[in-house]
């Protein structure tokens, strides 16, 4: 059944309508910042495995050249955003709430911006596997913020086909306008990308959902669709946060609720961000990998604006273009509802960076002190996932994670509606994030423990088996000996026993000798660190000799130990 999405819309429960502040950054067109001289490109930019670096320090790379190779299927490649020289592959701070570092490729731009040879990808002739590999190697990921590798979503419906392809242009979070501006300015390319995706996915209907507070984007998309002669529906959805969440948008347009842990394709729906559609167009039709994205810079700046930023550009360089106000005291990646506060602006723009939001005491006044939860239920009314945030909070606060999971903690999409409405100013989402990461850590620990148990049990099993084998071997040998020399059995046994204890002693002596040598070596090795090459060599020689001595000693025939 093909739905007629433009006729009937559905609603999701909950949601809030915060101040949007979107007009700040939509007054001027998307800007292009001056070419950066140094780019820091983190290898880990998408959900899944961290790509392996495939360039080396000192190597010259071209714009669009792959520098990180996808690690496994759930991963996406990383590319050089401009041409230049790799000056380092090292740990650099990431735009991550932890402020921790991860492996990055540092590129010194040469200013030429030489591209690799690009050619369109003939997806019509390609197999599903080839399309998947191509997109993975083009580094296309969801640009709405979740950075889920797109090839996994595009492949999912390849054979069977899906009912509805939804293109997410809702962009519900305050301040962020990158999708809005993209739709206004590049509607034609987006529509071409959507057409490509539709063919790959074999979708019966296509619906582009845009919130009704973006009339210009809606008009631009409608024009582009009618010009392209495609039968896409441009659906205006009511403005209500978080209508731009994939699950919420699917619900609004099709009425289907995709539960946690299920993929929307199981319900015949697939949802992509408009920027992802453009990236797919560029990858397939132009052969260009994903090396830039639109970033909104807003908040505490005098000239809020959107920029097309090369991945790896440092945030402070972009922010400087917008004249940040003097009282700026924090930088947030993403919007005020779901964004994460960063430790500094000295981090690169990554594929997930849809917005750089500067904050000050004036724009985001410090939250009034947290008051006790009185279970008023406002959060439950606002929750778009129909959860009971107050119960989740109660158990997350007390670190009763099992109970929190019973109350469906992992169905929480961290949209921040509950924190927004809470009259007691409780940072509810922080508690859920805390509880979730604790639970994940525990699950990881549990998996490790299970592995350790397996290995331990196998070791025990092996020890036992060896014990049995040894006993059997000895028994066999003893029997053989008894048969061969029946008359002097007693003598032999005595000799054997004597030999055994001798062997034991020998082993102990060996270890003692090695110990002695090692002590001496320890003394010799120590100065090595101070740079005495000769001493190092001496030590090496001594080691080799001692090993030889050991081998010689070991080469002597040893009697089997007896039990």
């Amino acid at each position: 059944m093909i739905r007629q999405p433009q006729q009937q819309l559905f609603r999701f429960n909950g949601g809030v309508t915060p101040e949007y502040h979107k007009d700040q950054s939509t007054r001027v067109p998307i800007g292009v910042p001056p070419a950066p001289t140094e780019l820091v490109i983190p290898l880990h930019q998408s959900i899944g495995g961290t790509p392996r670096p495939i360039v080396s320090v000192g190597e010259r790379v071209l714009c669009g050249q792959r520098i990180g190779e996808a690690d496994g299927d759930v991963s996406a490649a990383v590319h050089a955003s401009t041409s230049g020289t790799v000056v380092a592959i090292e740990m650099r701070q990431l735009p991550h709430p932890s402020g921790l570092s991860s492996l990055c490729v540092v590129l010194q731009a040469d200013g030429h911006n030489d591209w690799i040879a690009c050619s369109a990808f003939d997806y019509e002739q390609a197999t599903a596997q080839e399309i998947r590999d191509y997109l993975r190697d083009s580094g296309v990921v969801g640009l709405g913020g979740a950075v889920f590798p797109s090839h996994l979503k595009l492949n999912a419906g390849h054979q069977i086909g899906i009912d509805t392809l939804i293109i997410n242009g809702a962009e519900c979070e305050p301040y962020i306008t990158c999708d809005d501006m993209l739709m206004r300015e590049r509607a034609t390319e987006i529509v071409r990308g959507v057409a490509l995706m539709r063919r790959v996915l074999n979708a019966k209907a296509v619906c582009i959902g845009i919130e009704d507070n973006k009339p210009q984007a809606i008009a631009a998309m409608q024009t582009a669709v009618s010009e392209s002669k495609e039968d896409f529906a441009v659906t205006t959805v009511p403005t209500r946060y978080p209508a731009g969440g994939a699950k919420q948008l699917i619900r609004v347009i099709t009425g289907i609720e995709v539960p946690h842990g299920r993929r929307s394709v199981e319900y015949g729906v697939q949802c992509f961000n408009v920027a992802t559609a453009l990236a797919i167009y560029q990858a397939i039709a132009l052969g260009r990998p994903l090396i830039s994205r639109i970033v909104t810079v807003a908040g505490n700046v005098s000239n809020a604006r959107n920029f097309e930023v090369l991945i790896g550009t440092l945030m402070k360089d972009i922010v400087a273009l917008c004249d940040p106000l003097a009282d700026t005291d924090r930088v947030i990646m993403g919007g005020p509802m779901m964004g994460v506060e960063l430790a500094s602006q000295d981090v690169p723009v990554v594929k997930a960076t849809n917005c750089i939001l500067l904050g000050s005491q004036k724009i985001f006044p410090p939250a009034p002190p947290e008051m006790p939860c009185i279970r008023c239920g406002e959060c439950a009314i606002a929750c778009p996932a129909d959860l009971q945030p107050l119960e989740l909070y109660w158990f997350a606060r007390a670190k009763l994670f099992g109970k929190a999971q019973e109350y469906h903690l992992f169905d929480c999409i961290e949209c921040g509606c509950c924190s927004y409405v809470c009259p007691s100013n409780i940072p509810l989402v922080d508690y859920y994030r805390f509880a979730k990461s604790e639970i994940w850590a525990r699950e990881k620990e549990k998996a490790l423990a299970d592995e350790a148990r397996e290995r331990f049990e196998f070791r025990q099993f092996r020890d036992e088996r060896e014990e049995h084998e040894k006993v059997a071997r000895l028994a066999a040998r003893a029997a053989a000996a008894a048969e061969a020399k029946a008359q002097s059995a007693a003598d032999l046994a005595a000799a054997s026993a004597g030999g055994d204890s001798g062997g034991d002693d020998a082993t102990k002596a060996l270890i003692a000798a090695a110990l002695e040598r090692a002590r001496q070596q320890g003394g010799e090795i120590a100065p090595k660190n101070t740079g005495h090459v000769s001493a190092e060599q001496l030590a090496e020689i001594a080691q080799i000799e001692s090993r030889r001595a050991e081998i010689r000693e070991q080469a002597k025939p040893q009697l089997p130990p007896d039990s």
Binding site: W394, F395, R397, A398, L400, K403
Partner: protein, 194 residues
């Protein structure tokens, strides 16, 4: 018929074995930490108590009273109940090992559970007939289970409460039980209509 109904209702609510008669507190405090264990304990007690009431009635009416051995009542009841509990434990261990683990040390506690002895003795005092005895036993056990289940659900939530350090655990559970007892006093006087 309504008489029977009021026997059960009275035993469940008005004279709730835990909150009003204050019997069977050890398992009540011990097994009410989790809802599922509470359910198991409630089920086990319901079974044992109903059986105990039936069998003790039989023993009292047809063994002790005809022979003028009322003075052996307590003794023989204890023996009978102990045996029934043992039987229950063996059966549960076989049939549902999980329930057995969960009830663990509490199943033997039923043996010395004052509720299980007290209710049959009350039966005698109240001069109930066989059916009434069974119903009274059943009702008391249902009241016990109800108390246990409600209390367990409360305790599961209380576990997250920011209780002052010295009152954590059993202390606050006792306070809570006391307050529930206070609430159940509201039913006082209801049973005069039977």
């Amino acid at each position: 018929m309504t008489g029977y109904f009021f026997v059960v209702l009275g035993a469940v609510l008005v004279n709730n074995v835990v909150f009003v008669r204050i019997l069977g507190l050890c398992p009540f405090m011990g097994v009410s930490k989790k809802l599922e264990t509470a359910l198991g304990m409630g089920a086990a007690t319901t079974f044992v108590l109903t059986m105990a009431c039936g069998s003790s009635f039989v023993i009292d009416r047809w063994l002790l009273q005809p022979n003028g051995l009322e003075y052996l009542r307590t003794l023989s009841f204890i023996v009978t109940i102990a045996a029934i509990v043992q039987l229950t434990e063996l059966v549960i261990q076989k049939v549902s090992p999980l329930l057995h683990q969960v009830l663990g040390i509490y199943l033997p506690l039923i043996t010395t559970n004052c509720a299980v002895l007290g209710v049959p003795l009350l039966n005698v005092t109240l001069k109930y007939n066989f059916v009434e005895s069974l119903l009274f036993g059943f009702g008391s056990a249902v009241g016990f289970s109800l108390a246990l289940i409600l209390f367990a659900a409360m305790r599961e939530r209380l576990e997250g409460a920011d209780v002052p350090v010295h009152f954590r655990g059993t202390a606050i559970a006792m306070v809570t039980a006391g307050l529930i007892s206070l609430a159940f006093m509201g039913f006082t006087g209801l049973d005069k209509y039977k």
